[in-house]
Symmetry: C2
Subunit: 561 residues, 2 copies
């Protein structure tokens, strides 16, 4: 792509990693760094209270705010951009020690930027844009001038970006301050956040649990309130699994809505199922704010792949003050969600019904979807991942591209694209069929579904419990999806199923396990171990319905509160 | 795709072709068929006057109308649907004898449909939709229940469609009557209309000339006024070259605007440069009418690839009553357009200027574009075309997929997709740069360009003069383009260049020929031979700007009239 300068560094990959890691720590101002916090993976305690011991009252006050509140506070000069940057950098430094989640904390760049922004506001009384002074974190796929972008690989270490990713440019133009670049799985192709640079990132609610992946660094950082808002990417669930594990709103837009141009990825050029970039945040209002900023910048003038669709407030107005028709996808017949997720689905459906909305049973053939998605992910038999690893000599890791089969030929890859089209057309028709002509009712507006059947995987557990069908089906369909928190695992309420696994704790019958993975996921649930972990669901709308999904999300948020 | 029933016909491909050809003729009512008209390719005369000898005054009156006028005439009961169908079928039967352009004339189906439509209108006083009774022709890629769809191949002969292509369904639902399926090049991969079923189709303005391709049957039929409006497809210029050679408005929409679902194609699943379906007609009003009908049907509920963008009248209003900024792409530095096309460009630019619009010199690196497009077209080394031919045993023909190189591997095809993205991004930026910030002027609205450098190719000449860069660049960029007629070759005005080829007839200097093809195209122009052939240009807007392009097209049409 030509945006980076290639420094031919003749070093072992281990030396390059050591250099990178020490530079990350060196970039943190001494007063924000607390080396004693460096953690081991075995530590099960929540670290959510740690910042209270290290941050000032002002820093705690700033980091308690969501992004929408922060931009108001800065605009109204309650806080300066520098104060806000410092508070989040301090908290991010703690997060990095505790959770191993940052691949860059470019404080010098961010501080210079914050000073500029403060000077501009002081001088003109105006903000440079709607995000003036807002610190934003981005997955380390987003090129940012003056930083390195690794995509989880070792080979780019030492290459300095000369261009911003399109989404970064838009955020900067709107006044944002990109202050952190977060860890991810190698080449974005794994549902945990693990790479040869930082190792494994952890979940702030319980460090023996994964923060998810591939955008897990974002999940951990935002879930720890060490970033008010960030951007991940999602090819099979990579925004949504970390959002779910950390109790966040994470929007997976349809492709072509948020510009992906100049982001670094693996398998670049694969067009059958495309990765998308999207926001992760603490509130749906933040998601709405940032989407409006991005879309109002006309991203189609920066990225040839983007579609020229302005932010449609009429789509939001249309769903306000009318009865919604919401599908409820309880389970796909393959992997049953654990009790807290089943309970969250029931409560959400009940809240919708109580408010006069209609719920409709909904199910997609996710077995077929998974089959297609895996064929696409494995279509080059991990060739690209291996090639990128070979550039530095780092050892390849397990990835979603692994297969004993050979890479597809071009004809096979075209045939696979047609199979995917057929699947999309079949679900489109199935969705159309939810209309009720006899009552004059249109098709359902969206559906709610689990994000993942397991609340979160423990470190080391992921291979056994991974099941990405609830997210990956959405990627195959290129639908709009947003995760939302419904609460936290409460051992007093979220009782385990009967040990027989065919009855729940209330004696209600459950479908018998369908496969080893299904059984493992069911058995793995332990209320005492899962205690306090966030529980999330996802709301899924049709293709390019970001405004409508955000609007419905706000309605559901209000119903659940 | 599963829309057809496969009849296992154990016949030689020649027998199947003979059967198909006789069935096409047999489907024409005796009173409409005039076997004596069957032509040879050597006949240079225009056949545009032939219908006057065979058609009744009423039939001539009906076929003289454009589509917009016809739907009004039927709605107002000036003509019945049956009368309109019969007039066009009669004229199409003549066209088929003269030009070899129809792969199906399903009169029985169409007559039954017309009778139904008439009965409905008589009974209810209402039309079934905005296209009530309008005969429409479609390229023989469009599945139509009860007919065969060949895509120019022999193997599908005998397979009867059980489903309509999405675009056909929309047209039918709006009241249209699909009455003809038109010839095309084998697998749509050649710029002439030639296949092993019908051989070569000809141009009604001069039967020694090609009608273009791959949607040449549409071009010939509509150019002969034997269809009021039709649908072609365009992967490298396949709507626009036949439109140009027959003096038509032909819209190449961006992908995702008009549904392609359930159309038969070659190289299905190739996603780097995608074929699009679009209308060809005698007037821009017809193009606008049909696009409104299609988009207002919400095609994104039928085709998962379509984008949910309603018809944006505000985009048309925005360009009305303001100064346009139009790029003028005179030549690309590779193949100079022949004198009538250069003259048309100059006249159009002058008309724009005279009306107060701004013209801007514009040029794209079409050499690079062509290189990329050919790599994509040849990426399976004609494997699919050969496979489809092998199904029946028919001999493969020369195609745009031919290459001595082997098929690309999957990684090479992904790399190629990224090269295409880079090209698109570079042109996007180049277009953005046409903004004039010092004057507060936005980027140019569109550009005018040649469709092809040669007015039209004679039969047998195509391989020597073919140069598709002016069209194919638009496909690579996925921009919206519409051809428009500027007049006819007039030997008195459209003088040939000086035999030196470096001066035009007025003594103005020309760039020296750059290559053998450029020289051939220049030398090939002969005003006496080209006399009376239509001359067209294209107007090219940005991606998914169909409304705006149609709106600008109407402005230019008015300026030229």
């Amino acid at each position: 792509m030509g945006e980076t300068t290639s420094n031919e560094i003749r070093q072992s990959w281990q030396d390059r990693v050591a250099d990178k890691k020490s530079r990350i720590l060196a970039s943190i101002p001494k007063e924000f760094d607390h080396p004693e916090l460096t953690h081991s993976l075995e530590d099960t305690a929540s670290v959510q209270d740690v910042p209270q011991k290290y941050l000032s009252a002002k820093e705690l006050g700033i980091t308690a705010l969501d992004a929408s509140s922060l931009v108001v506070a800065i605009r109204e000069k309650k806080y300066t951009s520098v104060e806000v940057l410092n508070a989040f950098t301090h908290r991010a430094a703690i997060a990095h020690r505790l959770l191993h989640c940052c691949l860059a904390l470019p404080y010098d760049l961010a501080l210079a930027r914050a000073k500029e922004l403060d000077a501009f506001l002081d001088k003109t009384g105006e903000t440079v844009g709607p995000l003036h002074g807002l610190p934003i974190s981005v997955k380390d796929q987003c090129r940012l001038i003056g930083t390195e972008t690794t995509c989880g690989f070792v080979y780019p270490i030492g290459n300095v970006d000369k261009d911003d990713a399109a989404v970064v440019k838009i955020l900067k133009d709107a006044g944002a301050n990109i202050f952190a670049k977060t860890s991810l799985s190698i080449g974005c192709m794994w549902g945990e956040t693990v790479n040869n640079i930082l190792g494994r990132a952890s979940n702030p609610f319980n460090r023996s649990f994964s923060c998810g992946g591939s955008s897990g660094g974002e999940g951990a950082l935002i879930g720890f309130k060490a970033s008010p808002l960030g951007f991940g990417s999602d090819l099979g669930g990579s925004i949504r699994s970390p959002s779910a594990y950390q109790g966040l709103y994470g929007l997976r837009p349809s492709s072509g809505r948020v510009p992906y141009y100049r982001m670094l990825n693996s398998m670049e050029g694969q067009q059958t199922i495309v990765s998308v970039v999207g926001p992760m945040a603490r509130s749906i209002d933040d998601i709405e704010m940032i989407m409006k900023v991005i879309i109002s910048s006309s991203p189609w003038t920066l990225d040839p792949y983007c579609v020229p669709i302005a932010w449609r407030t009429d789509a939001v107005n249309e769903i306000t003050n009318r009865k919604l028709r919401i599908g409820v996808f309880e389970w796909d017949g393959v992997c049953l969600p654990q009790p807290p997720i089943r309970s969250a689905l029931k409560r959400t459906a009940a809240a919708l019904q109580a408010a006069g909305h209609e719920t409709i049973p909904w199910k997609i053939d996710q077995q077929r979807a998974t089959e297609l998605v895996l064929k696409v992910f494995r279509s080059d038999a991990a060739g690209d991942i291996r090639r990128q690893c070979a550039k530095s000599g780092e050892p390849p890791m397990e990835s979603g591209c692994d297969t004993p089969d050979p890479a597809l030929g071009i004809t096979q890859s075209w045939d696979l694209a047609m199979e995917c089209l057929d699947f999309r057309a079949a679900v489109l028709e199935q969705w159309n069929q939810t209309a009720d002509a006899s009552k004059g009712l249109p098709p359902m507006d969206a559906y709610i579904a689990p994000v993942v059947p397991a609340v979160a995987p423990r470190h080391g557990d992921y291979s056994k419990v991974r099941y990405f069908a609830y997210t990956a089906t959405v990627n195959l369909l290129d639908y709009t999806a947003c995760t939302f928190p419904t609460g936290f695992v409460d051992p007093a309420l979220d009782l385990p199923d009967d040990t027989s696994l065919v009855k729940d704790a209330q004696g209600g019958s459950l479908p018998p396990p369908t496969c080893e993975r299904d059984e493992t996921i069911r058995r793995r649930y332990d209320p005492e171990v899962y205690n306090g972990l966030p529980v999330c669901l996802q709301l899924v709308g049709r293709k390019l319905e970001e405004e409508k999904v955000v609007g419905m999300m706000k309605i559901i948020r209000d119903l659940l509160n």
